[in-house]
């Protein structure tokens, strides 16, 4: 019951936003719905409702382990959104606000989906609902980014449907009765047809991996993150990717139950390391600080995938990283959005000296950059440390070495771009443009809050969170 309310609150708010007459007051629906959603999500987090076996939708341990992070991220972004849309009051925001709220509702549904088909439908719906967010700026480049997002994302989503159907056929071939809940598939376990399970795994990994932005299916990401407003980037990087990752985790547990866990882990490790490598190399080359964030996001999706390949301890570390990455990356996207508005250009060739022009945003940007490159005591340091520990415990020495090298390369790439735009003397053109941008509390406090949350997550990881992660792990690796 409560899990339906969790989905309905944002969706009803989205309908309200679509009908709301005032352009100026409409954005207030964002924090209103966000607050309600967060309150409910954390209530359910602290007092998890029982999930009846066989239900298609429910707040199960995996949803409990990641959904509050998405809700929290949305809440902070919603407050930022109010200030941001005030700055952009010249543009109608009806579709934008409605789509943001719809994305939250569909994300909550996708994270709670316990049925292969349902999960696919919600992922597809999120993909479509995010389209109006990407071309909010209305520039030709934004339309171009949206086209690529639709074409690449659409193909990915089509492949994941094909994969879902193959999983269905695997169950049918093994004598299944057409029950496609993950629970039933895991229970069928060794009865599933192995050939079809492996075909399904490849297709689903490619399909949902496209949604996550794993290399080499990442090509939509730099475009989309580079052209969309910062708030959209934050929600895509911390929310939409989380749904895809939880989908991969759920499918992985079915593949594991069918007795092919080893192959699944090998492919996860390979694709994760490849994503990190590609992202690190592109980070060394890019000159655009918003595209830089996209490559950094690809790198962290790689870290999640690698974590997921190291068995129970690794999955727990990956779930930790979902929280720490989502919140820290949010701070980076929001502060980068401020810098972008003030500087008028996304390229480090045209922008410098932002420490003088937007001192607060620049400070958050630099701190966030250090946090996301795993500087202690921020959250990502501890979650990545856990991934490394899980890797060493399972004896993956070579993978660990490569993981650390990629992290180092990414660090070089990120510092190069970040200090390139923060340091130095501002150019005259930038200086003139930045006078129109005022660093109000509305655009500074939200990224600061996210940074604070990341710090809190690193320093005082609450026991209840750790319990939630291990409960999710025992859901994904059921002991017979």
């Amino acid at each position: 019951m409560k899990s339906f309310v969790l989905i309905l609150v944002p969706l009803v708010a989205a309908v309200l936003a679509a009908l709301w007459p005032g352009n100026r007051t409409r954005p207030l629906l964002l924090p209103a719905a966000g607050t309600l959603h967060s309150l409910l999500a954390f209530w359910m987090f602290l007092d998890p409702p029982a999930v009846a076996p066989g239900t298609w939708l429910g707040f199960d341990p995996l949803a409990r382990a990641v959904l509050p992070a998405v809700s929290l991220l949305f809440l902070v972004c919603a407050w930022y959104g109010v200030a941001y849309l005030k700055v952009r009051s010249e543009r109608p925001n009806r579709v934008f606000v409605a789509a943001l709220l719809a994305v939250l509702g569909l994300l909550s549904a996708g994270l709670q989906a316990r049925h292969v088909g349902l999960l696919w439908i919600f992922t597809e719906a999120v993909t479509l609902a995010a389209v109006p967010l990407l071309h909010f700026n209305g520039t030709p480049r934004a339309f171009e980014a949206t086209w690529k997002y639709l074409l690449v994302g659409g193909t990915g989503i089509a492949l994941s449907l094909l994969g879902s159907l193959c999983l269905g056929y695997a169950s049918l071939y093994g004598g299944g009765q057409g029950d496609l809940t993950f629970e039933a598939l895991i229970a069928q376990g060794g009865g599933l047809s192995r050939t079809w399970v492996l075909i399904a795994w490849v297709l689903l990994l490619v399909g949902y991996g496209t949604k996550m932005g794993l290399a080499p299916m990442h090509t939509w990401k730099p475009e989309a993150y580079g052209e969309a407003p910062g708030i959209v980037g934050a929600l895509l990087a911390g929310g939409v990717t989380t749904v895809a990752f939880s989908a991969i985790l759920r499918v992985r547990s079915v593949v594991g139950a069918a007795g092919e866990g080893l192959i699944a882990d090998c492919t996860l490790l390979a694709i994760g390391l490849f994503s990190m490598l590609v992202a690190a190399l592109f980070l060394l080359g890019t000159r655009d600080y918003k595209r830089m964030l996209a490559y950094s996001s690809i790198e962290h999706m790689g870290i999640l995938t690698i974590g997921a390949s190291f068995g129970p301890a690794g999955v727990a570390a990956a779930l930790f990283h979902v929280w720490s990455n989502g919140l820290t990356k949010g701070a980076l996207f929001l502060s980068a959005g401020n810098i972008r508005r003030a500087a008028g250009s996304p390229s480090m060739d045209a922008v410098r000296g932002m420490a003088l022009l937007t001192p607060r945003s620049a400070a958050i940007f630099v701190t966030g950059m250090f946090a996301v490159t795993a500087l202690p005591p921020f959250g990502p340091f501890f979650s990545e440390l856990k991934v490394v520990r899980a890797a060493l415990e399972t004896g993956h020495w070579g993978a660990t070495a490569m993981f650390l090298v990629c992290l180092l390369l990414a660090f070089f790439g990120l510092t190069r771009v970040v200090f390139g735009i923060v340091d130095g003397r501002p150019r005259a053109a930038t200086r003139a443009g930045s006078q129109r941008f005022v660093e109000t509390a509305g655009v500074i406090l939200p990224p600061l809050a996210l940074l604070g949350l990341s710090l809190w997550l690193g320093l005082f990881t609450p026991d209840v969170l750790v319990d939630a992660w291990s409960a999710a792990v025992s859901q994904l690796f059921p002991t017979p």
Partner: protein, 213 residues
Amino acid sequence: MNSNLNLLIGLAMGLNLLALGTGRLPALIRAMSAQGVILGVMPVIMEHELDWRVALVALATMVGKGLIIPALLRRATRAVSIDRELEPIIGFVPSLLLGAAGAIAALALTQVLPLMPEHAGSLLVPGALATVFTGFILLIGRTKAISQVCGYLILENGIYLFGLLLIKAMPLLVEAGVLLDLTVGVFIIGIIVDRIQRAFDSLDTRKLTALRE
């Protein structure tokens, strides 16, 4: 019953080749919509007694893939006054050969896959694989946005063919989802195509290169 079904699947596979070999967008759209209608007929002849849910899927497929989407695409074609794919990345003859090779490979691959006895003699699996492959060739090998949308739809048709294997055992939810999302997806793609056209005065996606890394 099975032979009738196989005949229809064979027709759909023939339309794949037609779609690959043509450079004229109206012909491409016609091939795609004919394939849609054929797909719509399939569930009706597969079932012994006509369930209302199956009938609904059949009707929705025929109307959606056979009428509405092609009409939208034709409108888009007229709006941008383009009716030819002039410089495909993969030429028409090579893509035709690729498509034919793909169909043969699909037939060979099906021999290896474990299939349930009632599906063993059917062309559903090779048809689905060949159609998905055709969709990919069009998505990768064509430069005009409308051709790519057609490629995407043919890809979806292939997935639908595979879905027919499961139409009895699985709730229709999956199929309903396909139709709904397909329609919405193309609708949105259509709007985007419109916007791209206004922004670039052409439908050539190769010109979308400002964001190249």
